[in-house]
Symmetry: C2
């Protein structure tokens, strides 16, 4: 094998560092240890029983063939109605495309836009795959360090301060991973308007949409005076609780849709058919009511974790407003968050994600905690870690 | 939109020409016409009831979360056993990765290997997406025209005659689309051995594996003295009848697996979970027995179509040995197969695919017929077309 070729971009792709934590956590569990998992960005809830019933019916009806590349027309229409009813956004179904997970949506959009050497602005910290997608397309990442002073988000001032020629796309996420913070709609629209003048796109990751606490759920698409350079990716994984179903969607300007259709025909043919029938069901009012109960459960978890952290005297970098993450500032404890994460796993039996997975800026001073387990386990996790820290 | 950027590679992606045929066919159907569909590369059978039952059980058990990126370990193990039992091939599960459709497998492998400017050899005609994948990675397609003299396939002599520096991957398919021809295993191994000396890979598309007639099903992986430069992609769509489930797999050298794992983590996270549980079931002996019945049904269809074509005096470029396609030589009828396909649709009410979708070489003299419908409809289609041709 040593002489067989491997591409430079593939060789440079970094593994998720959390995988090392996850691997060691599983080894400890196999050895009989009780590990509390706060490292995984996946809700513990399975998908809804009504979704399973709908999928069962679709299977029995033999609906297991390919769908059109853009997705089932009925589901695109349903999503258009969903935007209208819940987000007061007028999004025609012609602008909506189903994708096999939001990862594919992101890849499709960046592939449709970027030539080699084109620049993409994103924040440090942010979702780690975003950088990899840009690198695989031979683009250049323009990384903007953000901290609590901007809620760990881009804003119009930061964007303009870091602006440079050659940027074709600016990526933001609201709510964000790993901090759970939200960008106000007025700020998003200001950024979109600035970028429209530069002939660049604003790509908004709304995959945690709906999972917000003590504030209304929003979409940038609701704004009435939005320029036509806004791209949105979304997912049935998080709010809708359908991770393993690998289904997401994107919203793009009408002019881009034929290109995305042709690219999708080649890259993946179509999103999984039964997942699309499941998604049709999960958008019904009774299913959405159950998802609202789950959102409230996440809110209780969030509050339980934040309370326990506060009582333990831990520093939280920024109050999370959505998703299911808290970005824990461990600068008073270590200059090596990755080692601390390993120590916490082995001594306190709690699995957490080091900041390094989300970038470089202040990464060695942060750990991400995912509240994807019960309030009791979250409180127990903080107690275990506190007990361990007292022994150091 | 006119000033918003679009990448050159995306703008250059061609639509499938069959989509125009399909669109017009659907319009005719909407107007009440009876159209016989011989244009679509998808079996008409739905997936098996036992698969549906297994998926239903998995849903009820709440097995709807992400799987590992490489796939469910149980399914990788089952595929390893499947290779042993049915193909006498020793393929350890560590070399097997589940992918969201074989499209993703192909993309993953080419992304892992190709730097910009690297060359990929493939045949003209061949599956149209292959060229697009190379172009999207800024690679260079080395297209080898093939005809009946080589069964529309590459062989060791052709490969060496067209060899040039910079080729990193040679792509073949057996059985092939659009001709249904098979490459003999000895020839495949000769090619792999030549390429091994050149530090290049042989990528074998086995997605129609199992769908062969009057000969045994094979895999290149069964050969005992195979060099380690062989890559295989496969799919649950064709033989296993699970198109809409979007599940395929790849087999790669061990040394490439960590890179493919990391790439997969970023590009798609994991293949659809329930499709993997369905695939576990479809590999059981009773399910495989049902699939063998379907294979026999395809064989009857193939024979019915070939007989009807022979009686009508049509020219078949090469006897198809597998898949579900016949490549019809229309050089005695037209120099514009695309126009003929449209005429056949509108006058004979039969939808067929023009050769243009598979390349350029002799494309204007060929039409692909897919025998994915009943023998009666296939015979009727030939009659309708014959009647129309008599009026021209």
């Amino acid at each position: 094998m040593s002489h067989l070729p491997v591409s430079k971009t593939a060789a440079a792709v970094q593994p998720f560092h959390v995988m090392k934590i996850l691997g060691e956590a599983k080894a400890l569990e196999a050895a009989g240890q009780d590990i509390i998992h706060l490292e995984i960005g996946e809700p513990d809830f399975p998908s809804l029983p009504c979704v399973h019933e709908a999928v069962n019916q679709a299977m029995q009806a033999g609906l297991t063939h390919y769908t059109p590349t853009l997705g089932l027309p009925a589901l695109r229409q349903k999503l258009a109605e969903f935007y209208g009813q819940f987000y007061h956004a007028q999004v025609p179904m012609e602008r909506i495309m189903l994708t096999p997970g939001s990862s594919s949506g992101l890849q499709l959009l960046l592939t449709a836009i970027l030539n080699p050497g084109d620049k993409v602005m994103l924040t440090d910290p942010s979702y780690p795959c975003n950088r990899q997608f840009v690198n695989l397309l031979h683009g250049q990442v323009i990384s903007v360090p953000v901290d609590a002073s901007s809620q760990y988000q881009l804003n119009s001032d930061l964007l303009q301060a870091h602006w440079q020629e050659g940027i074709k796309v600016v990526m933001v996420a609201s709510p964000a991973n790993p901090t759970g913070t939200v960008i106000e709609q007025t700020e998003l629209v200001k950024m979109a308007q600035f970028l429209a003048k530069q002939n660049a796109y604003l790509l908004v990751d709304e995959i945690y949409q709906g999972l917000v606490y003590q504030r209304p759920a929003e979409s940038i698409l609701a704004h009435p005076n939005l320029p036509d350079n806004v791209l949105v990716i979304n997912s049935f994984s998080k709010f809708f609780g359908m991770t393993g179903w690998r289904l997401g969607w994107l919203v793009a300007p009408l002019a881009l849709m034929p290109i995305l259709d042709r690219l999708g025909q080649n890259l993946f043919l179509a999103a999984p058919t039964l997942s699309q029938y499941g998604a049709l069901r999960v958008l019904e009012p009774d299913a959405l009511a159950q998802l609202e109960e789950r959102r409230q459960a996440f809110e209780m978890r969030r509050n339980a974790l934040l309370n326990a952290m506060q009582q333990a005297g831990w520093q939280v970098s920024v109050q999370p407003q959505g998703a299911f993450y808290v970005y824990w500032d461990v600068s008073n404890l270590t200059d090596n968050a990755e080692q601390l994460a390993l120590d916490i796993l082995h001594h306190a039996k709690v699995a957490v994600t080091p900041g390094k997975d989300f970038g470089e800026f202040k990464a060695k001073h942060h750990i991400r905690l995912a509240y994807t387990t019960s309030p009791e386990r979250l409180t127990e996790a903080v107690k275990r870690i506190t007990d361990y820290l007292a022994t150091r």
